[in-house]
Point group: D2
Chain length 372, copies 4
């Protein structure tokens, strides 16, 4: 448990605070936190943890990590220069269980722009704040069968879903649209941090400026949507685009994103802080979106080979949600031809196969057997 | 158990056979079948059934059925005259649990052409017989974001998936392509019957002839595929199309299709005959296909509101698979604007909500609570 | 000739100036102008005029005009409110021969925004100033087979031609792009006036602001082009769009546009001022563009029924060029379903049939017979 | 005139017939034919010929021919094996004036399949026999902006025009559809021969069989059209396709096709036989079609650089019509990237530039000057 206390970010901070004598948290509260009915300690004692044997689980992750490290396939994205500066050897993973257990390997601390991984997160915040029906007045619910920046709308002249660029721009247009972008930006990053157990969220100004400069296609998409009657949720198209570019340029690392994923895996409640970030209903809707549309035009194949709600970003990250069990984030810049991290795909595929985590495996209840 | 013995088709036949004294099945075998470790009787005694309280479950189904009966929305398909003859009031449902329990309501015995519901079934037979990789040389794995007869191929010049017309025609072209269509037809119907617990499979000659006559778009799709180098699995395009039309014209009822669905729900093993029809791997692949592409361009919304692998046909049927639990089939001819049975959609939505059967509900393990 | 002196705008002004004694044009120059080898007086004496019997020609125009006046078909465009204010009864025509003869009927003095009719004019200025090859680095030469604001580029990722919105925006981007928009605007209007015999060119600020406000689709087109490598001629996309909206909002009337058309009919030399506005080569290229692409997706039918290089605008004007003979402009706001002025189409069709002006009629040299 | 008598096919035959004493054509008729008011002899005496100085004209053709011969660009089409057998060095031209003067160079006698060049010819026969309005119930009048076998219909679900495959297939479906294909084939070839001054028309069985075998895309196009209500003119789709393939496989040479072109140049009257093959109205409609759609997706550029109604075929021929003057046919198998004969394009471009034959040059009446 020493290791655990050291690595669990919330506990680490509290232990440190207590050790320094600077906090006045009553010892009683601390013990409640540690020893209440549903705490990790109690669960561990009764073997009720989502991942019953964490140590063996981490050993298996390490084995897979070493195998995947040698995969030199793919190429770093270069459409904006800053992304092209990434080292193709960077490779990090982080996992957080719904019981708050944490483990990481490799370059888990390197910061990278969140890019498309912000899309399902923004979507879940938007349906939480503005209602599912309102958001879907401006964005559909179907896979598009097209690449992420495809120039197409569905039969109702809406973007197919919130995980393609057009859809995410539409959601950027409606999310607290009455507020200035400064307040809107603060709102997103504050809540991203909440989802991530209170970890710090950064911003990459170079990426932001590059995104704006190379964003002609996204401009075109936004104006294209707005050219249909009632087709765009905001009168201020440039504002919506600017907000979209800002959110794409938020800096994260695999630790943060694994905590975020674990909150989705845990009904919308952050496993380490206990904060209720999203309603269970909206968590399910977001996972459904990620499952069908999260991996670009590889989503169908991904559903077969990995079978977990996941989202990929051009900077080379993939985060996955194992419902009721685990959040995972992988980062490695070289991308395969579908725009997904090559090592990320490789790692996720082996992980899911090893533990039988394909949703349809889980549904058939064979999943316990492998972990025990 | 009297009721059960009367309605379970396999048992009913065997009891009858035994009663008539015409069979020489030793009594010992009969008791083994009834009282072996995993039989329904034993499971029921130990409350280990997939649907623990079958009687209460059937009562709930009846309530929903009565509610949905009054839904007069939608319109009967008329693109082929024979379909237009269907009575818009017809409404039947059948359910079969993975333990072989059976229940039906309304017009469960009316025969109707299987139409598009044959697509995932043919697909599962094809990957079983010819291998997953071989089949996917000719058909993709991604949702298309388009209507079922859309005139489009993916970036590899293949149909997007096996649940759109183009994909099903391609699979019709490769399935035992070296055999004559007579043998190929027999093979499909024999195995459909196996999947359905040995029930009889019919054929609707009128529908077949109508399909051929009105099949210009399907002809166009087939030749369009074949116009790309190596784009079609068979040199005999007309033969492939003819086979496709034949399979669409197979006559079924909701009883048969509920048994079929239960076999998919039960790992590919028919719950009533114990016959191993499909490998577990291929069952999962088929369910994945149905989940992402089974409900035409309503598949994404369906995944949110029903959240179960399902397939719809233009004659007005929908069959659903609740993995590890249940097969369901609903039949009612009037279709909504997406081409799905209006009452079918309505019933399925209420059913899934009532029992928490959305896949993401199941994954979060809340599903037991409602049934108990 | 009295009538002629009164209506010929240049002569009218000069006669007036001379009469007022405020000009010092030597009488000798005046007589040179009136009696030189190629003047209208001399041509008329020797019956060498393009339209030999002008009086009879104008009588025929009047008859057709009266017939078309009763055509109450079509509807005024409303996509920007200012256009919707036009009176559906407005109907005016003006004609100017390559000998400078002028005639008009109805509302020839009403000002309206030039809209799409600026496209071929801007194109001819652009190829004149920047070269044919340079301009066609950014815009194609083929009909698009699509409506004017279609969202499509050709196989080289260029707009199909300079008469669809995307093409005109591209030309707006390259035309004297190093200058500020104020100078660029002055340049276009000055030269439009030159093409129109020195007539005044106006500007409609309300239309300009409305165009900008409703121009989402044009914004989308511009950014879409710019999203392809080397796809847009200017780095300043917003500037190009603003210039495009300005040019669409230039105010003209049928007199001005008939003079412009006559300059094109006269090898690029203004028949009344003698100013060389465009090279003959570029006049032919522009007429070729108008012939194949000038009437939106009715261009092919137009080529059959009218068969003259023409351009249509959403405000309800059509201007036509009868090479070596005549410029014509018709204005009447109600549009048919292809976006062409209903009365304009009607008038032009009757006019071309009456005089055998379809290009293929002219080529077969039957054209003289009808006019004599 | 000796040369002329020897080369003019009709005269040659008649002279031969007379010489053999096997015909009973009265000498009076012969002299009438030779010396009537509008005969070539009389016209030549009064210098009223379309090409006044035939000898100088032929010398210029010879010079251009020699220049173009060295152009080794392009590649022979190989999509059907028989076409791939063509010798890339083959190069022939034939010209026939509207006065019946004939000249040829190089491989003018080599037979090749007519392929797409049959499209405007079939179209003109169809509008002649069945009416312009009836034919255009099934095919549009607009350029498509797409390649010849593009998979697209216009907004009325019709092929864009009769010069793309889909349009030609539709016309093949309606042309004397009540007759058997044998009679239909005879009808087309008989009238093609009439258009060509009575010259023999062949058939290439190898090409026909190859076209059928590789015609999947054309099959797809036909069924696609037929899948729209009232979208195809014949209930017998396979029959229509078979007829289409037959017509594509008709064998011609440049002599025949130059005579055909001269008939179009001469108001629909064959210059050598005097037979009235087509109405003047339908000739103009066909030339309009060829002008806007004859050269695949190079038609717009062709209109600028050559500016004459032309049609191109994949076997490497181009035939051009100079209205009121000349028919031209060029044959050389290597094709450029647009599918037009490389040497054909080169020759036509030089020819039109040399004689100022661009339609817009002719319209501006500068054309006489060059020929005199």
């Amino acid at each position: 448990m020493g290791l655990f206390l050291n690595r669990h970010p919330l506990l680490k901070q509290q232990v440190k605070t207590l050790a320094n004598g600077v906090a006045d948290i009553p010892w009683k509260n601390f013990f409640d936190m540690m020893l209440g009915d549903e705490t990790i300690l109690v669960k561990a004692l009764f073997n009720k943890l989502a991942i019953p044997n964490w140590k063996r689980f981490c050993e298996t992750l390490t084995t897979i990590f070493e195998q995947v490290k040698d995969n030199k396939g793919g190429a770093v994205a270069t459409y904006i220069p800053e992304l092209g500066c990434a080292d193709p050897d960077w490779f990090g993973i982080s996992v957080v269980s719904v019981d708050g257990q944490y483990f990481s390997l490799g370059d888990s601390g390197i910061e990278y722009p969140i890019e498309s991984c912000m899309k399902p997160i923004l979507y879940s915040m938007a349906i939480e704040d503005h209602g599912y029906d309102y958001v879907h007045k401006y964005v559909g619910k179907e896979p598009s069968g097209r690449i992420f920046n495809a120039f197409t709308l569905n039969d109702d002249n809406l973007p197919h879903n919130a995980c393609i660029n057009a859809g995410a721009i539409a959601v950027s247009g409606l999310f607290h649209k009455e507020d200035p972008n400064s307040a809107r930006f603060k709102e997103f990053t504050r809540r991203l941090s909440d989802l991530g157990g209170g970890m710090k969220v950064g911003f990459n100004q170079t990426v932001y400026l590059s995104e704006k400069e190379t964003g002609n296609r996204n401009h075109a998409l936004a104006y294209f949507m707005a050219s249909h009657p009632e087709g765009f949720p905001s009168v201020n198209i440039e504002n919506a685009l600017d907000y979209y570019f800002q959110l794409c340029s938020v800096d994260v690392n695999t630790d943060l994103m694994a905590y975020v994923a674990s909150t989705y895996a845990n009904y919308g409640v952050c496993p380490t802080t206990g904060a209720k970030c999203l309603s269970f209903e909206n968590v399910k809707r977001t996972l459904q979106l990620m499952f069908s549309c999260g991996m670009y035009d590889y989503s169908g194949e991904w559903a077969c080979t990995v079978g977990l709600p996941s989202k990929s970003g051009v900077s080379g990250e993939i985060f996955l949600v194992v419902p009721d069990s685990l959040g995972v984030c992988i980062y490695s810049p070289p991308l395969d031809k579908h725009g997904n991290s090559e090592r990320g795909r490789d790692f996720a595929t082996r992980l899911a196969a090893e533990f039988g985590w394909n949703i349809f495996d889980i549904l058939f209840q064979q999943y316990d057997k492998k972990l025990l």
